[in-house]
Amino acid sequence: MKLNFFKLIIFVLIGFFILLFYVWLQISSERLGYDLEKLRLRLKEEKNLNTQLKITVDSLSSPERLGEIANEMNLQPPTKSQIIEIE
């Protein structure tokens, strides 16, 4: 009888811990879900920032802007005599 009673308590405790483990799993998966969503949003923001920076680079390196700067600095294409061909 004594043995059966302790067995019952052990079974109940095991059941309790299984339930606890299941709840922990659920909470962890939810938490991972949040983290994943946060990372997804961050990735999206970073990608968007990357695109914005790419636009800035493209605008700054546009032939029109470079041409204007070259004009301001009096830069000209080299004449034939200024070119040295390296064999």
């Binding site: 009888m1 004594k2 009673f5 308590i9 109940v12 939810e30 879900g33 949040y34 994943l36 969503e37 997804r40 999206k44 968007n48 695109t51 914005q52 790419k54 636009i55 493209d58 605008s59 546009s62 032939p63 029109e64 041409g67 294409p77 034939k80 070119i83 061909e85």
Partner: protein
């Protein structure tokens, strides 16, 4: 049973009583009522959102971005959450650049949401986001905005999108389906007030492609810069330049001036038209190569045969007089091209005959679409020789480029055919498509439409065109270090209302360089220059300047012509 055991059992039952009751309740809620309660919970925590329409990028042949979509914020406010309204109005109006009276009107509305500004600048958005706690009541919403980093440089060819991010003109319209990722439904689950997790999205929503153009933005800039100079110098209405690779048919440049800024909203539907594709004009003398090819192919005249050019004035009918800009007596077939004699070509037209003129004009690509597929491309106007539109003078005047309307694209395509030995190519604006990860999806191969004439005849025409630049009307188109072949065109404009020619002109030059192994065909068209009109003095120097810088940029002089990158 012993007393101690009974007590233990009793205590155990007593302790377990509440958990058992709770378990029964849980069983009832979680299993018995599961479906009903779950549906209520789902309704409360789930939300369905529509993802914004996104578009792929448009890039030039070197990977330079010409059009790109980015997510930007639109900002609104909940007027009921704002406490210190005066302070809010003062601060926000200065950041957003909104009129204070307008903002006061918005803030005093009895609503839970009002728009303040759509698609705001990312820098302003970041500034507002940082002060979000300070300005309670501000609401941000994501939308996509199309940016064109090169602005007006490629506006006429790339086109624009409308407010719903769908293509309205140019490549944006032609490749709208491929560029667009349509909006789809996304299911989110909300936990608490702040967190949302995307649990499902619309798998049927398509992916987008990126479009790689044949356009070279540096060549485009060179052309646009020279175009701007000449339009301003001669006070012209507008102008355009087309540069084509004669071997592949790829359009490397399609520059228009004046153009418009696609990043602003200040443009009209008329601005969206591309004069090189969507508009037609009487070509004038650049069209003279058509009867020339016809005469040589039909063995009507030999290049050494002479034509009497009537000393500059010729009455073709009682009320129709044809004039040359100089007085010529006898000129060879080559001479009438080199010195651009209208009388010579009118007489040549009479020898060729109406049906043959029409047939050869069609064969060289006029009166039909080029196959570029560009939206709104014009066929041009080529009268039918068996209709009432064709009179006695139509054939002769058509031979020097009047009585026929063409697009710039048709002209440059014909000269490319002469440059490549006689193959009329399909002009192409798109090089390839790539997927979202930039992996190639399809590459467009050059397509030959037809051979327009034998290689021998085309070679004869090419040599004649070289002489036009060597000592004829196109001497100002010369480029140091290269041989150039081409033809000038100065055409009087027809007033369609009174059906008479006016004193307004279109000056053009179309040629190819280096003429012995052409790499570029360049067409320059200047519409209504007010301070002069001769193509030889207006269009030829533009050709020369563009060709010189283009050759320098493409390093054709430094490298072997045969290894030129575009032919790889």
């Amino acid at each position: 049973m012993k007393l101690v055991d009974r007590r233990l059992l009793f205590s155990f039952i007593l302790i377990m009583f509440i958990p058992i009751l709770l378990s029964i309740r849980l069983f009832y809620l979680q299993i018995w009522q599961h479906r009903y309660l779950n549906s209520i919970a789902e309704e409360q925590i789930s939300s369905v959102k529509t993802s914004p329409v996104t578009r792929g990028e448009i890039r030039d042949r070197n990977g330079k971005t010409l059009a790109v979509s980015i997510e930007v914020d639109s900002v609104g406010l909940n007027p009921k959450l704002i406490k210190n309204k005066d302070h809010f109005v003062k601060e926000i109006s200065s950041i957003l650049g909104i009129n204070q009276t307008y903002l006061k009107y918005k803030i005093n509305q009895d609503k839970y949401f009002v728009w303040l500004q759509r698609k705001i600048d990312p820098k302003i958005s970041r500034l507002l986001q940082e002060k979000k706690e300070y300005f309670k009541g501000l609401v941000f919403q994501k939308e996509t905005k199309r940016y064109y980093p090169l602005g007006d440089l490629t506006a006429n060819i790339v086109g624009v999108v409308n407010i719903d991010s769908r293509g309205s003109s140019g490549i944006e319209l032609l490749y709208d389906k491929e560029l667009t990722k349509k909006s789809g439904k996304e299911v989110y689950k909300r936990y608490g007030k702040t967190y949302e997790i995307k649990v499902a999205d619309d798998k049927t929503a398509n992916n987008y492609f990126n479009v790689i153009l044949t356009i070279d933005s540096v060549l485009q800039y060179i052309a646009q810069r020279e175009l701007k100079k000449v339009v301003e110098k001669y006070d012209a209405k507008k102008g355009f330049v087309l540069i084509q690779n004669p071997k592949t048919g790829e359009i490397l440049t399609c520059a228009c001036y004046p153009s418009f800024d696609p990043n602003s909203d200040k443009f009209t539907i008329k601005d969206l038209l591309n004069p090189a594709i969507n508009e037609v004009f009487e070509p004038g003398s650049v069209f003279k190569v058509v009867p020339l090819i016809a005469a040589l192919s039909e063995n009507i005249l030999d290049e050494s045969d002479t034509i009497y050019c009537e000393n500059g004035s010729y009455m073709i009918a009682d009320d129709v007089e044809i004039n040359d800009h100089e007085k010529y007596s006898y000129l060879t077939l080559e001479g009438i091209l080199v010195y651009s004699s209208n009388i010579g070509f009118a007489k040549l037209g009479m020898k060729i005959g109406r049906n043959k003129i029409y047939e050869w004009a069609r064969r060289t690509g006029f009166g039909s679409l080029t196959g570029s597929m560009m939206p709104g491309e014009m066929r041009g106007l080529l009268p039918n020789p068996n209709s009432k539109e064709w009179s006695f003078v139509t054939g002769p005047i058509m031979c020097y480029g009047q009585g026929v309307a063409v697009t710039g694209l048709q002209i440059v395509n014909l000269y490319s055919a002469i440059a490549n030995g006689g193959l009329l190519m399909e002009p192409r604006f798109v090089k390839s498509l790539t997927d979202m990860e930039n992996k190639p999806i399809c590459e467009y191969e050059p397509r030959v439409i037809r051979r327009i004439a034998s290689e021998e005849i085309i070679n004869t025409v090419r040599i004649m065109l070289e002489k036009v630049v060597m000592y004829g009307t196109g001497t100002l188109a010369k480029v140091e270090g290269y041989t150039v072949a081409g033809k000038t065109g100065t055409a009087q404009k027809l007033d369609t209302n009174i059906k008479k020619y006016t004193n307004k002109y279109i000056s053009s030059f179309c040629g190819f360089i280096p003429s012995n192994n052409p790499e570029l065909t360049i067409l320059v068209v200047i519409d209504e220059p007010k301070k002069g009109y001769w193509a030889s003095e207006i269009a030829c120097p533009v050709f020369s300047n563009i060709a010189k810088d283009a050759m320098n940029y493409l390093e054709i002089q430094k490298k072997s012509i045969h290894n030129y990158a575009y032919n790889k």
